[in-house]
Symmetry: C2
Subunit: 229 residues, 2 copies
DNA sequence: TGTTGTGAACGCTTTCACAGCT
DNA sequence: AGCTGTGAAAGCGTTCACAACA
């Protein structure tokens, strides 16, 4: 009862918190001290009521008639998202993308140091990329335990992605960032985020087609009828 | 009235169609001819009723008691998503990521050829990367018109991302794939898909923390009380 | 018989609207 | 007076359950 009793935040809200955090970090860098839900809503491109509801899941940290404090809210969002500590990442698959992630210095400062990279190709094992030496995927379990890894990034070929995931789960990793264009089979206790540019492009294609058809239609059709908004 | 009167498909369903397409392509490669909503549901990790609803937005292309034909559904999904034609892509920002996208051969075969790449750095302009020569961002309008570009990929630094978007919109591009960790200001007629690994990692962090706390709690607390599911 | 296609019920998310504080 | 915090309403998306039909 002393603790504010952690509620489970709706998934939709969780997905927006990192966006708010990004914006608040920018405001902080610009020496802005306070913000209102209206201001953040404009910057995030959402409704002000949604901002207030989302922030209310963190607790009642605003001041009526005034607004929210930038630094305080940054801290609260970080606390809620679990960003007050570091989460170690291991990359599985030392191809172009995998090595790029290993070399990219942008994750460690954000709290996600890449502490290991592995592959199943004997030619690659032992070579170094950035600060890391490519390890053997068969040692994944040891690496995960020894280096306290909590997040696995799958950058293998599509064909080997599932076995890479199995190895990660076997090693005790429950958070997976998947770059392979495939739906992974995982127990429901495991969190998976898929990053597939093909999917993103195809979704863009749909909306682009909608626009194109509407324009063509307006030019061609005698009576465009009511293209329901 | 001759046309099946294109309905507007719910956004949530549009986001799943590329996933179904991926799976059906795999089935096709494995010489599978037919599938039922149950089978696709298992492969996609969703509910069978959802699969049927989603596919029903395309039209009534299944056969009761039998299922759906793989090749026919692949065609229908492609038609719906606008994948029966090519959509040309221009990359704005010739850094590591931008050049990687330009060199990566995986987009053209999927119907999204990268036909141009531009930057604002005089040192980079004129150099070549893959098949392309880096152009001047000030010529973006001409490039978009001459090469019939419909999709712009933002791979600039965060600081210049907004001006890159403005240039793209000015040039008439209405579909944007944004890799910069920033919320872009765009008119509502423009489609934006954000790809931000930082955001993905932070969301994973949240669920990882939830798991960790639950485990810690179970070990520490006298009475774990009802941690509401 | 087996599977689709779809109304209807349900549950989650968004938005409204305003009481409650500062 | 101004802005937050939040019940209540409205809007969507998901799932159920079964009629329709090959």
């Amino acid at each position: 009862m002393t603790q504010p009793q952690r509620r489970r935040i709706p998934e939709a809200a969780v997905n927006r918190l990192p966006v708010y955090l990004q914006i608040l970090n920018n405001l902080h860098a610009t020496s802005v001290l306070r913000f209102s839900s209206d201001e953040l809503a404009v910057l995030a491109g959402v409704n002000a009521a949604k901002v207030r509801k989302d922030l209310s899941y963190l607790g009642s940290y605003g001041t009526r008639g005034v607004g929210y404090e930038v630094t305080y809210l940054i801290h609260q969002i970080k606390r809620e998202l679990g960003l007050l500590r570091e989460w170690n990442v291991v990359v599985v698959g030392a191809g172009n993308l995998g090595c790029a992630l290993a070399k990219f210095g942008g994750f460690a400062p954000r709290g996600f140091p890449v502490v290991g990279i592995v592959d199943n190709d004997p030619k690659k094992i032992g070579q170094s990329t950035g600060w890391l030496t490519i390890g053997d995927v068969r040692n994944l379990g040891k690496i995960v335990r020894d280096l306290n890894v909590t997040i696995g990034a799958i950058t293998t070929s599509t064909a080997t992605a599932q076995s890479a995931v199995d190895a990660l789960i076997d090693a005790g990793v429950a958070s997976i960032l998947n770059f392979a264009p495939i739906v992974l089979a995982t127990p429901s206790s495991v969190s998976v985020r898929n990053v597939d540019l093909g999917v993103e492009l195809q979704i863009l294609s749909y909306y682009e087609q909608m626009r194109t058809e509407k324009i063509e239609g307006a030019k061609t059709a005698k009576a465009p009828s009511s293209v329901s908004v």
